[in-house]
């Protein structure tokens, strides 16, 4: 635990046959926080996480993981294994690999799965919840969740978020291309595009969101008036006359996100 961080990454690089996937990523993740790596498909999220998990070899850079192999839980992105085992057989088998595993039945109940069903018969969403159970069975200090809700319908996604929120205290590195997922779960977010971190911060302040100019809108003589200002309170106070239909908006996280990714795409053209 040399740096007191759960994850510390400096200058991480990885290419596949000349195509750069990760172009120098730095990350710091504290113990106990949920950190989201947010970015579009192909931005380098999965490559980054797979290097941290030990599933891939980096080309360059420093990676420090403040947890032993037995303290790490990995939720696989697209596993399709062990269809002929029951949920209980699978979870209790994997419990056997860890020194202090969770009680299999309690864990299966926690993720809401039918213990005696064959894995082959589970729905896609149930299958992912099994992956989460297998990631959690060893009581990890550090959990890797790589795009856990891809392909979920909105209701299944919300249920899944509830599951993850209940893991308070566990350090989580989540990758996702769903903005609302990062916003719902993460204490901190890093936006990755074309293999580089382009912004990092709390969801509320990401990309200067809290201090960005606000838009003041109101109705005047039947038309919508609009003004951009650093200080909307002062603007409204100093305005002479009524301001029917007054609204003050700041850019949404989505606006910031699209701008960040867009900027990056533009700079590549």
């Amino acid at each position: 635990m040399s740096h007191g961080k759960a994850v510390r990454v400096r200058g991480l690089r990885k290419s596949y046959g000349g195509k750069v996937a990760v172009a120098g990523v730095d990350l710091d993740i504290d113990y106990g926080e949920c950190f989201a790596l947010l970015g579009p498909n192909g931005a380098g999220k999965t490559t980054t996480v797979e290097i941290l998990e030990g599933h891939r070899v980096k080309d360059a850079g420093e990676v420090h993981i403040g947890a032993s192999k037995a303290e790490i839980g990995i939720v696989l992105q697209e596993a399709n294994d062990a269809g002929d085992l029951t949920v209980y057989e699978m979870v209790s088998h994997f419990a056997g690999y860890y020194p202090h595993p969770r009680e299999p039945m309690e864990l299966i109940e926690f993720v809401g799965l039918p213990a005696r069903h064959r894995i082959r018969t589970l729905s896609g969403g149930q299958r992912r919840r099994l992956d989460v159970a297998l990631g959690l069975v060893g009581r990890p200090r550090l959990l890797f969740l790589d795009e856990p809700t891809t392909g979920f319908d909105p209701e299944a996604r919300r249920q899944f978020w509830g599951l993850i929120k209940a893991l308070e205290g566990t350090t989580i590195l989540l990758t996702t291309h769903y903005l609302e997922e990062a916003e719902a779960l993460a204490d901190r977010v890093a936006v990755i595009a074309a293999g580089l971190i382009v912004a990092e911060g709390e969801p509320a302040t990401l990309g200067g969101r809290a201090t960005a100019k606000a838009t003041v809108r109101w109705q005047e003589h039947g038309t919508t008036m609009e003004a951009l200002t650093d200080d909307p309170v002062r603007y409204v106070r100093e305005h002479r006359g009524d301001m029917p239909g007054l609204t003050v908006t700041r850019p949404s996280l989505e606006d910031i996100y699209l701008e960040l990714i867009g900027e990056h795409n533009d700079s590549r053209l």
Binding site: K69, I72, D81, D84
Partner: protein
């Protein structure tokens, strides 16, 4: 060791719940024996030995090749493709545990396969088990060398199929071809065209089949072999060479991860 044992149990559970694996890997040799043994039941000239008894002895080699080479080639390719290996590598389990589990699976399956084929031969085709301990010693070394060599070749060959879906086809083709030209599906081997015999002789299956015939058939039957003798020395050398060759191939080509995940 405990890990290997636990892996072995879970591998066996999964194997016997997969209908296609049980039918094609495990039952195929027994079905072939039933068919061939029933169709060709004639006595060999000047002996009391029937063709069905000869098939039984040779089919044991076919069964061993199926539960080792074919089974491992498909099994490891599928495990690489469907996340089994990736998931295990993400746990504190030592990597050797996976291979030890496969070893347990292969040993149990192969012994059961041999037992089924022998039972078929004894009950249906009047095969008699030898009482001479020397013959069982021969059985032991042919079995150990054959299982080791074919298992290593199967693990090496698991890198050939591009996807899990193509694995059964990729593994069964060489198995079936070699069964025809190694004295397993067609006996006696010496009646085959010379070039086919020579190709078959390059691989372990022919020598395993010949070795098992020397265990379960009376010595008069060595006249039906290509060289007119059981050739134990040569059998041991070829099988041992394939153990070494298989190990070298495994060390050179084995990948824990599938090609597309780099």
């Amino acid at each position: 060791m405990t890990v290997g044992f636990r892996r072995g149990i879970i591998e066996l559970k999964q194997f016997f719940r997969q209908r296609d694996a049980v039918v094609f890997t495990f039952s195929l040799p027994a079905i072939m024996l039933l068919l061939l043994g029933s169709i060709f039941g004639d006595r060999f000239e000047g002996t009391v030995v029937t063709a069905s008894q000869v098939f039984t002895a040779g089919m044991i080699a076919g069964g061993v090749a199926s539960t080792t080479f074919v089974n491992l080639g498909i099994g490891v390719a599928v495990d690489r493709d469907d996340g089994t290996i990736k998931r295990l590598l993400g746990t504190p389990m030592p990597r050797a545990g996976y291979l030890l589990g496969k070893l347990v699976l292969v040993l149990v399956l192969t012994l059961a396969e041999v037992a089924i084929l022998l039972a078929t031969g004894i009950v249906l085709f009047g095969l008699e088990l030898p009482s001479d301990p020397a013959r069982w010693l021969t059985f032991a070394w042919v079995f150990v060398l054959g299982v080791s060599g074919c298992s290593l070749l199967g693990i090496a060959a698991s890198s050939l199929p591009r996807t899990a879906r193509s694995a059964p086809a990729v593994m069964n083709l060489p198995y079936l071809v070699l069964s025809f030209i190694s004295g397993v599906f067609v006996v006696p081997l010496k009646d085959l065209p010379e070039p086919l015999i020579q190709i078959g002789s390059l691989f372990p299956l022919r020598w395993m089949a010949q070795g098992f015939r020397s265990v379960f058939l009376p010595d008069v039957m060595r006249g039906q072999e290509v060289a007119g003798s059981w050739e134990h020395g040569r059998t041991a050398i070829v099988l041992a060479a394939w153990c070494v060759g298989g190990l070298v191939l495994c060390l050179g080509t084995f990948r824990w991860r599938s090609r597309r995940s780099g």
